[in-house]
């Protein structure tokens, strides 16, 4: 089980879906959901300033409406400015190959396609999580 997960997505309804799916699949004990990339950046700055523990895994939406930058830029920032050892990836309804390549370059470890039936993908991800944590897994798209 993953100790703590951070979800960054502008869609509040998806927060509920993700929270319930994670709980039903025993993926995590603690889930925090944020609505924008700016909010996530502030959250990480505060964590570093206060010396608080970072989340074990971060799911970022690709297009976060109401943010000054997109999910890929947030991944880049977290990885290169605040991260260090955090498992991070995209959760999006898009399956765009060029965006996936950009995400990989920014340091994303996985890409989960968001759809009505998200649970099977999350379950597969749960099984692969240790590989992402040890940095032994390759970038993977969960379709």
């Amino acid at each position: 089980m993953i100790d703590s997960i951070l979800l960054v997505d502008d869609e509040n309804l998806f927060h509920l879906v993700f929270e319930d799916a994670c709980s039903l699949l025993d993926i995590t004990l603690s889930l925090k959901s944020l609505n924008s990339a700016d909010e996530a950046e502030r959250y990480f700055k505060n964590l570093i300033e206060n010396g608080s523990p970072k989340p074990d895994c971060i799911f970022v939406d690709l297009n976060i409406v109401g943010s000054s930058f997109d999910g890929i830029e947030l991944i880049r920032k977290i990885n290169f400015e605040y991260g260090d050892g955090v498992v991070i990836g995209i959760i999006s309804s898009s399956d765009d190959k060029s965006e996936q390549a950009k995400a990989l370059k920014a340091g994303a470890q996985f890409w989960i396609i968001k759809s009505d039936d998200i649970e099977p993908r999350l379950e597969k991800f749960k099984h692969d999580f240790d590989g992402y944590l040890n940095r032994t897994n390759q970038f993977k798209v969960y379709r």
């Binding site: 089980m1 869609e11 309804l13 998806f14 879906v17 319930d20 709980s23 039903l24 025993d26 995590t28």
Partner: protein, 192 residues
């Protein structure tokens, strides 16, 4: 794992039995139930209840999410149709304006043609009267007949003809100029 005291466990079990309120959420997953079968049963049933509630909520949220997506699609389609209708209305108004302009030009052209015909006929009449009077005056001169009335008539006629002919020529020129301008405008609009 969190280990609770016997008292706390008993209170939780009692509260669940009497009031139907049990622990819920992820806290249930970290409670130590190893040495208490009754509490283990309590946690198991609380987890089952929680799972059931979450499953229901997940299904409903998914349904709302799907409806939300549909509504967003409809909204964008409506906006698209609205934009198309506005465009069609605009082009119709432009066409109406163009037809109205064409009709106006056609009416003016007909009016000018009518004026041109009137001026032409008037010119012919004036010239005819002039020619007839001149012939009459010439005959009286040749034959030596009494011509005082014809003479004054001829001179008056020529005086009137000279003054009037300039005004007629002016009118003709005006009509021609107006017609040319009108036709040029028509051609320009056709080219546009």
């Amino acid at each position: 794992m969190i280990k609770l005291s016997k008292d706390s466990k008993d209170q939780l079990i009692e509260y669940c039995k009497t009031k139907g309120v049990c622990l819920e959420g992820n806290i249930l997953k970290v409670l130590d139930t190893s040495d208490d079968p009754e509490f283990e049963e309590y946690v198991k049933s609380a987890i089952e209840k929680d799972t059931e509630v979450r499953r229901k909520r997940l299904d409903m949220t998914k349904q709302i999410q799907a409806q939300n997506i549909e509504l967003t699609k409809w909204k964008s389609e409506n906006e698209k149709i609205n934009a198309e209708l506005t465009d069609a209305l605009k082009s119709m108004e432009q066409a109406k304006e163009s037809v109205s302009n064409d009709l106006d030009i056609l009416q003016k052209k007909t009016q000018y043609q009518l004026i041109e015909s009137i001026v032409k006929v008037s010119l012919w009449i004036v010239c005819g009267v002039g020619v007839v009077t001149t012939i009459l005056f010439s005959i009286t001169l040749i034959t030596g007949m009494e011509n005082k009335i014809v003479e004054s008539m001829w001179s008056n006629m020529f005086g009137i003809l000279l003054t009037n002919s300039f005004s007629i020529i002016g009118t003709i020129m005006g009509v021609k100029y107006a017609s040319e301008k009108g036709s040029k405008k028509c051609k320009c609009e056709e080219n546009d």
